[in-house]
């Protein structure tokens, strides 16, 4: 699998910008429409685009399945850990313990930015894992 030269060069050029846009969506989740899920899906599709154009084997080397599923578990464990952290710091579960900062800036949402990042990692890894599983399934029972 792997497609023509034209697609490969375009994808090779576009890939960093798509990931950058995904990161923008994640980091500005609490300022503009967007957030962990949308940004994660954008990054996931960037990886899928790479896989479609360069073929599964090469992408597998760059983003192997093992590391992606570890990233996914890491995303959720950080989310739960943040919840526990707010308990240790005297707030109730998932309560915000960081200073709110000035509205309009990235660092303004308190815990929200960290939540968005955790969700973004988990969704990006999850989407690409599903894609790998669907593509590599060879139909035996």
């Amino acid at each position: 699998m792997g497609s023509s030269k034209i697609i490969r060069t375009i994808v090779q050029k576009l890939f960093p910008f798509i990931v950058l846009f995904g990161l923008y969506l994640i980091s500005h989740g609490h300022l503009s429409p967007g957030g962990g899920f949308q940004g994660g899906v954008v990054i996931g599709t960037a990886i899928i685009l790479l896989a479609l154009s360069y073929g599964i084997e090469k992408t597998e080397k760059k983003f192997e399945n093992k590391r992606l599923s570890m990233l996914e578990k890491l995303g959720i464990l950080t989310f739960i850990f943040l919840g526990f952290l707010s308990i240790f710091l005297g707030h109730s579960f998932l309560g915000n313990f960081l200073p709110l900062g000035k509205p309009g800036q990235i660092a303004s949402g308190g815990l929200m930015l960290l939540f968005n990042i955790a969700i973004g990692i988990e969704v990006a890894a999850g989407v690409s894992i599903i894609f790998y599983a669907l593509v590599k399934y060879r139909g035996e029972i």
Partner: protein, 115 residues
């Protein structure tokens, strides 16, 4: 025919699709249509006449904004409902791949006959 009635109608079309179609994938499509119509229903509940998207302007520093905002709560709920609906669809499609691999048919009638 405001969007609330339309969303209920689409919900019914999805329900009809789930009940009467024999093909497994069409049943899943019916389920997705139902979930989609629920998202439309919630959003049209929260709509306010000439309301803006609930993003406060860059400048407001927490003062009481005079502009009318659309109700943000259903939109927040629907983010969750959308993710749930794609999870159900993803799981169902993976299941259909396995069922097809074993029984080589997608017709629910034939499936229920085979042991």
């Amino acid at each position: 025919m405001n969007p609330i009635n339309i969303s209920l109608l689409v919900f019914m079309i999805g329900l009809y699709g789930v009940i009467s179609k024999n093909n497994l994938i069409k049943k899943i499509m019916g389920l997705t249509i139902m979930n989609g119509s629920i998202v439309l229903f919630f959003i049209s509940i929260g709509y306010r006449e000439a309301g803006l998207a609930p993003i406060l302007g860059k400048g407001t520093t927490g003062g009481i904004p005079t502009t009318i905002f659309v109700d943000p709560v259903p939109q927040a709920l629907m983010l969750t409902a959308i993710v749930i609906s794609i999870s159900i669809t993803a799981l169902a499609l993976a299941l259909i791949v396995r069922i097809y691999a074993k029984y080589k048919t997608l017709d629910i009638q034939q499936l229920s006959k085979e042991r």
